[in-house]
Amino acid sequence: MSATYEVRGSESSAAPPAPAPAKAVKSTRPPRPSQWTQARRSLRRHWQLYLLIIVPVAYFVIFKYIPISNAVIAFKDYSPIKGPWGSPWVGFHNFELFFQNPVFWTLVKNTFFLAGYTVLASFPIPIILAIALNEIRVGVFKKTVQLVTYAPYFISTVVVVSMTILVLSPRLGFVNDAIGLFGVPSIDFLGNPDYFRHIYVWSDVWQTTGYSAVIYLAALSGIDPALHESARIDGASRLQRIRNVDLPGIMPTAVIILILGVGNIMSIGFEKAFLLQNPLNTAQSEIIATYVYKTGLLNADFSMATAIGLFNSVINLVLLVVVNFVAKRITGNGLWS
């Protein structure tokens, strides 16, 4: 479904240039050469380019498209000896088993809430940071804030999770010291499933806000300064200028980032959930991605794990297409035309 969207989108944007100039310049040649002739001519003249692209294209075929065809084992009872195509068909059996599994709704709920909460929290905060940075004058302070808030983006997930665990630790971490000042007894944050989502989301906000703000800052710098000047002459306050000049200016960027965020809701990061997970908080930390890992690689149930993964990918794709459609209807901006 999305494949047709894609092809149509890029065709309309980039296809015309190739034939059009040829027609205009070389009008001496009677009929326009057919597609096939064009392809052959291009291949003969620029064979080196086609040679160059063979290895990368092979990479995409082997590591991206063969796995998609391998996903057929979701509908089979996979046996390593017979291979993906030789194994016997079982239809939707794996999917039925998964849907009937009592863990199914817990997984969907956990994945959905975790991702939804992440989008809700990590969408507005970078916009606020970018606008605030945009309001103050260029100087050491502004540069420092930018550099420091951007830095966590470069820290690995393993280290961020380790830091979170250390900082929140009941015995050593400063968070428990801080709440201890108010007379609150120390809390084992990671041992309690109710805290898992907050820890996940806010450590994510800590890590990515500065990076996301940079994108909005660029969008803000693209706004015509004349708009601000004239708004000021008309007596607009800073707040009014933010609302009427800045926010509309960054709207297209914000919509695209929101689409990407919502579109990725079901493919929410395996790495962090897996690392923050421990036997005490699985009630909320078990999401589809971590379950696929456990089913597939720890229990070696390849067919089931593939079926669950496929379910996830399809939902994700549908979400992306729907969100893009809605966003285009409402704001006129979308990922593809």
Partner: protein, 315 residues
Amino acid sequence: MSVTLQGFRRTAKQPASTSKRTAIEETRGDKVFLFGVKIMLWLALIVVALPLVYIVANSFSSPAAVSAGRVLLWPIEPGVKAYQTVFADPQIMRGYLNSFIYAIGGTLISVTLTIAIAYPLSRRTFYGRNVIMSLLIFTMLFSGGLIPTYLVVQDLGMLNTRWAMVIPSAIGVWQVIIARTFFRSTIPDELHEAATIDGASDLRFLWSIVLPLSKPVIAVIALMYVIFQWNSYFDALIYLKDPGLYPLQIVLRNILILNSTTGSAADIAQNLERQQLANVLKYALIVVSTLPVLIIYPFVARHFTKGVMVGAVKG
């Protein structure tokens, strides 16, 4: 980015900063608002920096002080014992070395392949470039999943080899888009025509003219790959079994995270001093593993941003 951005800001804000000479004064409401904005930014700065400072301060403190939770922002009874232990640990050092190998080797492969696909796709005369680009973008939206990819890597005999760390994730579609956009917007068609007239083949043109002109974008995608490789642990988790091949991130996970959830009760019987040292060790390990990235970061941040922007201009 910040260069152009500063240019804009300076012209836009000049009147405000020298408000005595201009007609429009900042109103009182605006001044209050600006004050609020500054307080907010200070808060953001503190919230982001505090955990980082806390980790560094702890890593330089004495084991006893760390275990008592006395360290906050400044090292107490400073020392470098933890660092000596980290650098003496063969497991950590091997992880470090492996990560270097994967980061350097992987980046070389990734950059080469990315250019090899991005350049032809940037040329108007390349037949089928739109179809190939669409197929590439489709892989961003839909994937076969964990197990089907694992099966491919298994069939290729890459399991438990160094290749598994650098080949399956060699090309990033995002990086291809960035490079292609750069080639398309900075290498004019006339340049290629001129070179062709002078008898240069496509490869010669790429090597002698395009690549020297594209140093900035090559640097950007190389940095993206380096940092991605240095920080990645998932591929190692699923493809590697031999501890001798583990990259630093897996070693970190084993020491920092797996230990932290099982340790607390069982270790009480253990030697107190060793337990205390293990605590500081975690902080020192975090600093040591993140340092290479954070040292180069301020120098590359500007280019990094620029690269992200180039890709965003036309996805």
